[in-house]
């Protein structure tokens, strides 16, 4: 029983981690969902290993620990809320960026970096040529550009 739980949790976590590393945003969400299910399975496995469910117990029956079930229910609800939140974010990103590829999202960051670099270069050149009026850019053969 414990082995079955352990295997299920391991497979869920492994496939989740694999999907999480994909470039596609939807696959990433699917990966996180699988990992959240892995956490729930582990919570259940943490002591649901003996006895009957704790409802309608007959005298003499072994009763299983009801606490992990309460924990799993709470974790499911929280997982649902966070995944819904993540899906809403991904939806917004797809509407704004018109893509589900992480690479194209990262392009925004390099645009920003390029803007900063241009700004810095402008600043440097201003410092170099600003105060001295006589300076003129020359090409190698001496002609003014």
């Amino acid at each position: 029983m414990i082995l079955a739980f352990a295997l299920t949790a391991a497979v869920l976590f492994g496939s989740g981690a694999y999907l999480l590393l994909k470039r596609d945003l939807i696959r990433m969400v699917a990966g996180i969902m699988l990992i959240s299910q892995c956490a729930v399975v582990t919570l259940l496995a943490s002591s649901l290993s003996r006895g009957q469910a704790a409802i309608a117990v007959r005298p003499g029956d072994l009763v299983s620990d009801p606490l992990p079930q309460a924990l799993a229910l709470t974790a499911l609800v929280i997982g649902l809320a966070t995944v819904a939140m993540l899906l809403a974010l991904v939806h917004r990103a797809i509407v704004v960026f018109r893509t589900t590829e992480q690479d194209e999202l990262a392009a925004t960051e390099s645009e920003h970096d390029a803007g900063l670099e241009a700004e810095r270069r402008a600043e440097r050149e201003e410092v170099e040529n600003g105060p001295d009026e006589e300076w003129e850019p020359h090409t190698e053969d001496g002609r003014v550009r």
């Binding site: 959240s36 956490a39 943490s46 924990l71 974790a75 704004v96 960051e109 900063l116 810095r120």
Partner: protein, 460 residues
Amino acid sequence: MLMSVALLVPWVSGVLLVAFDGRRRVVTWLAVVSLLVTLAVLGVLAVEVFTGGGSEVVTGGWAPGVGIVLRADALGVAFAWLSVLVLLAGAAHEAIGRVRSRTFPGLVVLLAAGLTGLFVTADVFTFYVFFELAMTASYALSAYGGKRRQLRAALVFTAVNLLGSFIFLLSVAGAYRVTGTLAMDQVAQRMLTVNPNAAILIAAGFFIAFSVKLGLFPFHFWLPTVYAGSRPAVAAILSGAVANIGAYGLLRFGAGIFPEQLRLTGVALAVLGAVSIVYGGVLAIGRGDTAEMLAYSAIGQVGYVLVALGVGGPVGLTAAVLYSVVNSLNKALLFLASGTRGPLVAAAFAIGALSVAGVPPTAGFVGKLELFRTGVVAGSVALVVLLVAGSVLSLVYLFQVYQRRFWREGPPPAGARSPLPQRLITAVLALLVLATGLWPEPLLALSGQAVDALLAGAPG
């Protein structure tokens, strides 16, 4: 009683405020007032805790051991008060300017509820519930602004931190499996007798979860994109309040529940912290963007907390608490100053920069002094050299940015001056940093008492 009020005020008002349009002035200022009330209640609670010991509430009127226990001790109350203070500064900063989304005020108040809850709970699973409440609010907050960069920041932040949260949940399941309880003090007691392999594995899970929140070296990859991409007020909230979860978690779980494992891995933690300091410091030099520089600086600064934790003992832990508090104030001040323009801001930024570098008479000096004491107590030359090198690096990168932003000739950069009250908030935070540096006794006493409370609860 006070503790329930401190939790219920932000919780109820946050839920109500989310339903209204936060772009309306009334709603925004109601959120600020609600945070002020929370801060005041937490202040009274803190005074009570510091003068008369901890206070305890068992939810639902159950017997302790059956019901969930909320326990306010010095460590938790100090972190809760500090986090709500940073949230208040961030919310007021946006309220004076212009709130750009309808959910912003409500989310900040809900974040306050989540943070207060997780700092006062004495139950591992309730910690997870409050943790998710706080994190979900901050996921939504990181998208605040709605531009492309903020959206990308929010996606990265949410994906990475959700993974961290589930690793935390897996560790909670593991802890319940081996100890059969969720109350922190009982978990700590029974952890002494479990199989050491299982215990170290569970401790590692908790460590990874909190390091992801804090942005420590091997888990820092998400941090620059998020802090640089989100709006300054949100970046201040994330680095000044939400990152406190990581520091508090490392202290509470590391020193409070897994002291044995902490002792075993102390050297490894100190090395990781050292790598964090050097990595953050070196990469922060030569960043064009103020926010990006501050993000790398944040990676370096949390390294100090980890080094102090790795050294351990009362001195090391006191330094860790003290430095977390100082760092959270510094980061809130610097991020807010980076989003403001006009007179007073340059002075505030300079005070923040000096504090990060650890120059007297700022709060950072007291933090660095305690860290040096830790290094001397540990008898490690390498540690002291590392601290000096880290401070020099931070002085270099901060004043490089200061020079570029405030000492520039010619017309001031694009964008009008910020309104005076917005600049005053930054100035007040700067004064707080200065005052803490000039009169450090309360902060020192607070850290000492927090560590006493922490060690009193720890087994062995």
